[in-house]
C-alpha cells in the first residue's frame, strides 16, 4: 500500500470517529465479542442490535432470502436479549476498546426514553433510535412514519440522556426529509438513513411467502440508489449531520453517500458477502480514492455534489 495521506477521522456533531465506517445496527450486534470483532476489524464505531425492553426471539426462520449479490431480504423480527441482559454485551465490547453506539426500539416516546436512558448508562457514545424497521408490528416504521411522532420520541429521548441522539429514518415514506426535520426539531444530534425497504419474496412452487413473517426489508446494493436519494434530500433540509446507510459495499459507494451529504456511513449487508474484512478494505479504499481525487480529508467531500451548479 502507498502511504495514505487523506484524513479519515470525522466528527458527527460532538462525536469523534476514527473513520466514517460504522457497523450498522442488526449486523454482528447481538454479542459483545462480535461488536469487539468489528471494532478490531477497523470499524470507526459499532452500533448495537436494536434493543427493546424485553427479550424477543424474533420471527421464526426463514428470516432471510438472498438475491444473487445485489440484495438481501430479511425479517428477523427485532430479536434481542432485552435491556436487562444486554448491557453485559456492551461492557464486553467496551472492554476491548470498542466505540459503541447503542440502538434501541420502543413503541412510544416513553419506552424509547426509558431504554435510551438505560443504554446510555452503559457507556455508549451515542444512542440511535430505530424509527424505521419496516416489518415489526408496533415498532420501527409504525412509530416512525409521522413527523409528529418522530419529533415527540426524539424530544423525549434527548431530555433523558446526555449523549448525542441519532434518529434512524425510514425510507418507506413519501417524505423522508420531513421526518429528518422533525428529528432535528426534537433535538437529534444527527439522523441516519436508510433502514431497509419494505419488500416480499414468494415461492411459486409452494405458493407462499418465503419468509416466515411474510413481509421483510430489502438491504444491500439494490437500495443504495434509494438511500442516496434520501440522504441527498435530507441534507438539503436539515443542519444536523446525516449518516448514510444502505447498500454500501465499496469505498466508492461510501464516497457517493459522503458527496450526497453524509458525514459518516453505516455498513451492514456487505458483511454477509465479504466478511468483516470489508472494514479494512473500505478504510484503505476511501483513503486511496480521496488521495487520488485530491481531498485532504473526508470532511472536504461532505455534500460536495450539491455544489455542482448544473
Amino acid at each position: 500500500m502507498s502511504s495514505l495521506v487523506a484524513d479519515l477521522a470525522v466528527r458527527v456533531g460532538s462525536l469523534a470517529l476514527r473513520n466514517p465506517f460504522l457497523l450498522a445496527s442488526g449486523i454482528w450486534g447481538e454479542s459483545g465479542d462480535s461488536l469487539a470483532g468489528a471494532w478490531a476489524a477497523g470499524a470507526g464505531g459499532v452500533i448495537t442490535k436494536s434493543i427493546g425492553s424485553l427479550p424477543r426471539a424474533g420471527y421464526p426462520n426463514p428470516t432471510i432470502e438472498e438475491y444473487s449479490t445485489w440484495g438481501l431480504l430479511n425479517a428477523m423480527g427485532l430479536p434481542n436479549p432485552g435491556m436487562d441482559e444486554y448491557p453485559r454485551e456492551i461492557s464486553a465490547a467496551r472492554s476491548h476498546g470498542a466505540l459503541v453506539i447503542g440502538s434501541v426500539f420502543g413503541s412510544d416516546a416513553e419506552e424509547f426514553a426509558r431504554l435510551a436512558r438505560r443504554i446510555a448508562e452503559t457507556g455508549v457514545v451515542a444512542v440511535e433510535l430505530n424509527l424505521s424497521c419496516p416489518h415489526a408490528e408496533g415498532y420501527g416504521t409504525e412509530v416512525g412514519s409521522d413527523p409528529k411522532d418522530v419529533e415527540a420520541i426524539v424530544r423525549a429521548v434527548v431530555g433523558s440522556v446526555s449523549v448525542p441522539v441519532i434518529a434512524k429514518i425510514t425510507p418507506n415514506t413519501s417524505d423522508a426529509p420531513a421526518l429528518a426535520v422533525a428529528a432535528e426539531n426534537g433535538g437529534a444530534a444527527a439522523v441516519s438513513a436508510i433502514n431497509t425497504l419494505r419488500a416480499l419474496a414468494i415461492d411459486t412452487t409452494l405458493h407462499r411467502p418465503v419468509l416466515a413473517h411474510g413481509l421483510g426489508g430489502l438491504s444491500g446494493p439494490a437500495i443504495k440508489p434509494v438511500g442516496l436519494a434520501c440522504v441527498w434530500q435530507i441534507y438539503e433540509r436539515v443542519r444536523i449531520p446525516v449518516i448514510g446507510v444502505g447498500g454500501i459495499s465499496t469505498a466508492e459507494d461510501a464516497l457517493e453517500y459522503i458527496m450526497a451529504g453524509a458525514r459518516a456511513v453505516e455498513v451492514g449487508t456487505v458483511i454477509a458477502h465479504q466478511g468483516i474484512g470489508v472494514f479494512s478494505r473500505l478504510v484503505d479504499g476511501l483513503s486511496h480514492r480521496l488521495d487520488e481525487l485530491g481531498y485532504a480529508s473526508v470532511s472536504q467531500a461532505v455534500g460536495l455534489a450539491h455544489g455542482a451548479g448544473r
Binding site: T63, T205, V210, I271, A272
Partner: protein, 261 residues
Amino acid sequence: MRSIVRVTERVVETPSTVTLRFPFVAPAAPGQFVMIWIPGDDELPMSLSYTVGGSKGVTVKAMGDTSRRVQSIRAGDAVGIRGPYGNRFDMAPRRILVVGGGSGSAVLAPAAEAAVADGARVTAALGATQAPELLFRGRFDAMGAQVEVATDDGSEGTHGFVTTVAERLLGTEPFDAVWTCGPEVMMQKVAVAAASAKVPVYCSVERHMKCALGMCDACALGPYHVCVDGPVFPAERLLPLAEFAHAHRDPSGRRVPFGGH
C-alpha cells in the same frame, strides 16, 4: 440460492433418528451444513449426512418440537434447501479417531467415508443411550472402520460414556487427528484427553442459526460465527472460550447455560 426439492426417501435410522434424502446438486463437503426449510413451519441448520453426488441427505434426531416435525416429513414432501454453508473437515490426517455422541454420527459418517476413500484409516468411537440408538453403526462397519461403542445402559459395548472409550483409544494408538461431534461437554472431555496425547481435535459445534451468512450474530460463539467460521473448529480455539461446553444463546441472543446432556 434456495432450491425447493421433493424428499425422495425417508429412512428410520434408529428409534429417534430419521434420514431424509433429496436431490441437491450443489457440491458439498463433509462437515458442511444446509438450512432446511419446512414450509409453513421453520428452517433449521442440519449437517449433510450424505454429501456425495446429486442425492444429498440430512439425518435428524428427535429433540424438541421442531426436530420432531422435521422427522414427520414424508417422501414426496417439498422442502427448501439453501447452502451448503460452513467449513469442512480437513482430509489430510491419515489415522483418524472419530468420536460421536447423539446425532454426531450424522456429520462424522460422511467425513469418515471420505477419509477412508482417500486412503486414511478410521477408528470410530460411538456413543448412545442404548444399543438401537447407535447411529450409522452399519455405515462405519461398511467403510471398514474399526468401531467401538459405549451405551449409557450398557446394552452394548462399554457401559457408560463414549469419552471413556475415546480416552482409552487415545492411549493405545497413534492418531493424527480426532474428529468429534456431540454434546459440548463430551467434546470438551475428548479435547482434554487428546491434548495430553498431543493429537489435534476438531469439533463440529452447533449454535442457534438464522441467516447462515455470518451476519445476524445468532450463532455467535466467542469471537466466531459458527455458520461461517465453523461448524468445524480446532479444539484449541474452543477450549479458551467461556461459553464452550457451558452456554449457548437462545433465539433472542440471551446466554443460556447448557443443561445436562
